[in-house]
């Protein structure tokens, strides 16, 4: 959580995450450079610097495809949730790999350029009027620029400095970067050589990502449209039965505008919160109560049950909602309380003891 900013607040999970990621990257590069030429004649025939360039280029595409798949995968199956935890490091490493690819390209193709390398990069192909001959380098540069900006602004300092909506908006440009990468590869590598593996990686990845994102989007839309039934007497929304809520977990209801409300059960009492984490809009209701604090499943931001505020020294807050029980039915007032309002969790009355038989 943010109170003062350190470059990275390391913990065991982040270290393991990054170690696995780096090991995977090293393994990919080693296999590409050493085993690749043995199984592909196309790779045998090219010079080692070109091989390195292709190794880092294809790896950047693979990593970008993977990082974009993490979000929908985590929504479809909670077992993918741990991948979300340190996704920003994944993104930063992807930018570094893409930059390495670009550095190899500059060092090889523009090494003996009579004009400065950067000038040569922008002026060596000016077929802007042609489709197949369009300077594919432009798309690569655009993608790298976006990845660089996102990597630099990925830190929580920028999230707080720019405000979450603006930060989120800027970071959605990752999709523009992905589109630019697909065009860069299609106009460049795929147009100039028959590389089935790269074609499969590019087009298969595109099909996979579109399917994953559209399927999860549809599921969310259906959930939004269903909404929650409303109590006609007071307009409170019916979230479900108290028996459906496991200890330390939540069930979700949807307010009239479709905004989701999470009702947590902890220590025999109920507390209702906005489902939107104040960090990066993570789904609070898919998290759990850890040591008396509601904990977001994405990056672990925590909020107190009684007022939705993060414990000191942190300053994040989420809205609370009033909750009541009608028998065993859980109802929530669709109007949120002002941020920081204290409202003690609602005790769940003990179930009446069973009558013994005589």
């Amino acid at each position: 959580m943010s109170v003062s900013y350190k470059p990275v607040i390391w913990n065991r999970t982040k270290l393991i995450y990054d170690a696995v990621l780096l090991a995977g990257i090293v393994l990919y590069i080693l296999l590409y450079l050493n085993v690749g030429p043995q199984i592909s004649t196309a790779l045998q025939e090219v010079d080692p610097p070109i091989r390195r360039m292709r190794a880092f280029g294809s790896l950047a595409l693979l990593l970008l495809t993977f990082v974009l798949a993490i979000g929908p995968l985590a929504r479809l199956d909670t077992r993918f949730m741990p991948l979300l935890y340190n996704r920003r490091h994944f993104g930063v490493i992807t930018a570094v790999v893409a930059a390495t690819h670009a550095a190899y390209v500059l060092a090889w193709y523009f090494a003996y350029s009579p004009t400065p390398q950067m000038t040569a990069l922008f002026t060596s192909n000016t077929s802007f009027g042609s489709i197949a001959g369009f300077p594919f380098e432009i798309f690569g540069i655009l993608a790298l620029l976006i990845l660089g900006i996102l990597a630099v602004t990925s830190h929580d300092f920028w999230l707080s400095f720019l405000s979450p909506p603006l930060w989120k908006g800027i970071h959605m440009s990752i999709y523009a970067a992905y589109a630019a990468v697909v065009l860069h590869v299609a106009l460049g590598a795929l147009a100039s050589r028959r590389d089935m593996t790269l074609a499969l990686l590019t087009l298969g990845g595109l099909a996979l990502l579109c399917t994953l994102h559209l399927v999860t989007g549809r599921r969310e839309r259906v959930a939004d449209a269903e909404g929650s039934p409303v109590d006609p007497d007071d307009g409170w929304i019916v979230v479900g039965d108290v028996a459906e809520i496991a200890e330390g977990r939540a069930i979700l209801g949807a307010g009239p505008g479709g905004e989701r409300i999470a009702v947590f059960r902890s220590n025999g009492a109920l507390s209702a919160f906005s489902n939107v984490c104040s960090h990066q809009n993570g789904p609070i209701g898919e998290g759990k109560v850890v040591r008396g604090l509601v904990t977001c499943p994405w990056h672990g931001y925590q909020y107190r049950l009684e007022d939705g505020c993060s414990p000191p020294p942190f300053r994040e807050r989420i809205r609370k909602y009033r909750v009541r029980l009608a028998g065993t039915t859980v109802l929530v007032d669709p109007d949120p309380l002002p941020l920081g309002t204290r409202l003690e969790p609602l005790p769940i009355p003990a179930a009446p003891a069973r009558q013994g038989t005589a």
Binding site: I131, A132, K168, D224, E259
Partner: protein, 53 residues
């Protein structure tokens, strides 16, 4: 907020799912093809195992 965000996501991915495959298809159909009278033996092809023809 989450809802608006979800809507934006859905619109973006619908757009990408239509535009990118179309763009790739157009790129491939406009790739220059060798002239019908181009020689069968290309200079950039791998040399035959026996050496010079």
């Amino acid at each position: 907020m989450q809802r608006r965000h979800r809507r934006a996501h859905a619109a973006i991915w619908t757009g990408l799912a239509v535009v990118l495959p179309l763009a790739v298809a157009i790129i491939f159909t406009t790739l220059p093809k060798p002239a019908p009278d181009a020689p069968a033996v290309r200079l950039d092809a791998a040399p035959a195992a026996e050496g010079q023809p």
